[in-house]
Amino acid sequence: MTEPQLSGWGRVPVPGQELRSEDLARLTSDAVLTRGLGRSYGDSSLPPASRPVVVATPLADRILSFDDATGVLRAEAGYSLESLYHDFLARGWFTPVTPGTQFVTLGGMVAADVHGKNHHVDGTIGRHVRSLRLRVASGAIVECSRTQEPDLFRATIGGMGLTGHILEVELQLVRVPSPWIWGEMMRVANIDEYLDALKASAAHWPFTMGWIDCLSTGPAMGRGVLQRGRWATPAEAPREFPRALIRVPVPVVCPSWVMGHTVGKIFNEGYYRWNRTTPARVVHPAKFFYPLDALVHWNRLYGRRGFTQYQCVLPEAAGRAAVKQLLELLTQQGAASFLCVIKDCGEQGEGLLSFPLTGTSIALDLPVRDNTQSVVDRLNEFVISQGGRIYLAKDSFTRAEHFRAMEPRLDEWLAIRRKWDPTGKLRSAQSVRLFGDPA
């Protein structure tokens, strides 16, 4: 029999296996790592080689309490955003922060301290987490919050599951005036215009983000489509609840040319032409927040070798010159990508390894090729020189010394982690790579 394999969303596998159960408390008693729905791209939810088993939370998905007056929700770690959308949007409540897919669990969202289109206003999910229940390395079950074990709380938000197995999450939901989005599209001719528009939009719109064509060069470099929106008012919104969207699976793993340069050129040209500037109108919330969820298994498009996503944030101080330089660097490396998403970030959150900081976040999908390691190295060197950093939930290529150079908060985080896990029991393939944990 072949050895079982496990991979992140980028489909680069390691030997490993998931264990699923409704009973997380039992499963985690001896485990080294817990994962949610496996939507982190790289190796953060993959086990170290010597302990190739990961606990998976999706079956531990019960809601434990919900207060209709305050919107405080407490649920087991495997409760997914897809369920939250289904259970609460029609009742006028929603998650205050959502990443670009609803196939994530509460536990996974906390571990990666996810952000969304509203980061410039509402921060990361961590800001809205009230309390966490963890199984720490000693086997004890610990409740932590801003007042109870605050260090453990700060280290766990964005801590990639390395401070303890997240068992339960208490989250503050937000009231929404309707389940629909009021949004508009803006086509912009180049990166300067794009960044201007992004900044101008941030002042008036809670949700902003956009796609840029990083395969175009010269004066059209960074042309793109900016999307902005807010929740529709009851007067603007249709009376009915948004209908469930049809999802189409990518049935097979595609050959690598599918996401290659030529197809990318054609796609980007078409996408740019297709999306004209439109006046504000009602938009389906799932289309607005989760456009890629309509294409189930879209990660299969990237072929047998899989892909990685490179996401970094460049600080405000580095200016837009840095954003342009990064795009030029990409073109030079021949790494210009099919999909490139740029968004502005607000203030850094309290999570000690939380990704966003005030500045501009750039995310691009890179098919894994022979030179991927060196491309990521070059990009990382540039990001370090600008005082930026990368997002662990996407990463599988960054070198330990590069991460250390990006992350001044690392020592504080490591110290708290060591206090709760002196023997280094909890670890992942990523922590082996980045923090020198035993394989």
Binding site: P4, R20, E22, L59, R62, I63, S65, F66, D87
Partner: protein, 245 residues
């Protein structure tokens, strides 16, 4: 509709109880662990936005003495029971069972004898004037296969019993739904390598609710397994002796 679910705290039973409650059916939960039942009842109340609390009672397939009181509690909570669903059951791999006779005895007893006894009590106690009895057998019961000989034998016996019930009592108002799930990614199958066409609990639950509404006597889920098992049933023995499926 008023529904009793045995095995409601986990897996497909959990997903079914949620689906019934969310569409407005009244549900009553049966299971082994009162603390787990309480947690699940609460989860369902919130998901279904139900004003009335969801009731539950202790019932253990390993202990037939619990059946009577559990069914009495269901009947008094719901006043009338329209549907009883049994998802509970035991599972172990063929090698584990071959290595341990006591384990085998337990599995055969729970999955066949006691499940049948439970159904008989439901029929006698609750369904004098009809109702729907939905019980989980398995594709493992469709043919004697190497990886599931003992488990499959119990499930085959159960399917046989359910077919007989259907023949005898359907005209009297008792509808029997025999569910044959294929590989479903639940805690029962965790650690096993999922074959192609593996399903998720909620998808199976959706199929089962539909089958109950229609009174379909046999339902495969995910549905592709009906075709898979059609092929498997038609394979000659010399092939079955060679393959490991």
């Amino acid at each position: 509709m008023n529904v009793v679910v045995l095995g409601a705290t986990k897996g497909i039973g959990r997903a079914l109880a949620r689906r019934f409650a969310e569409r407005g059916d009244r549900v009553f939960l049966l299971g082994r662990d009162p603390a787990e039942l309480d947690r699940s009842a609460h989860d369902i109340e919130i998901r279904a936005n139900s004003k009335a609390p969801i009731g539950f009672a202790h019932c253990d397939l390993a202990d037939p003495d619990t059946f009577g009181p559990a069914l009495a509690a269901s009947a008094s909570a719901l006043s009338q029971v329209d549907t009883v669903v049994v998802t509970a059951g035991d599972f172990a791999t063929q090698p584990a069972l071959e290595a341990d006779l006591a384990r085998t005895r337990h599995l055969l007893t729970v999955n066949f004898t006691n499940t049948v006894l439970f159904c008989e009590e439901v029929r006698a106690q609750l369904f004098g004037r009809g109702g729907t009895l939905c019980v989980f057998s398995s594709v493992a019961g469709d043919r004697g296969r190497k990886p599931v000989i003992l488990y499959g034998a119990a499930k085959a016996g159960l399917a046989h019993y359910l077919e007989g019930l259907d023949h005898k009592y359907r005209a009297k108002g008792l509808r029997v739904v025999c569910v044959k799930p294929g590989f479903v990614k639940t805690s029962m199958t965790t650690g096993l390598k999922p074959p192609p066409f593996a399903g998720e609990a909620d998808g199976v639950a959706a199929d089962v609710v539909r089958a109950i509404d229609r009174g379909q006597p046999v339902v495969y889920s995910p549905r592709i397994w009906q075709a898979v098992m059609l092929v498997i049933r038609s394979l000659p023995r010399f092939v079955m002796r060679r393959i490991e499926f």
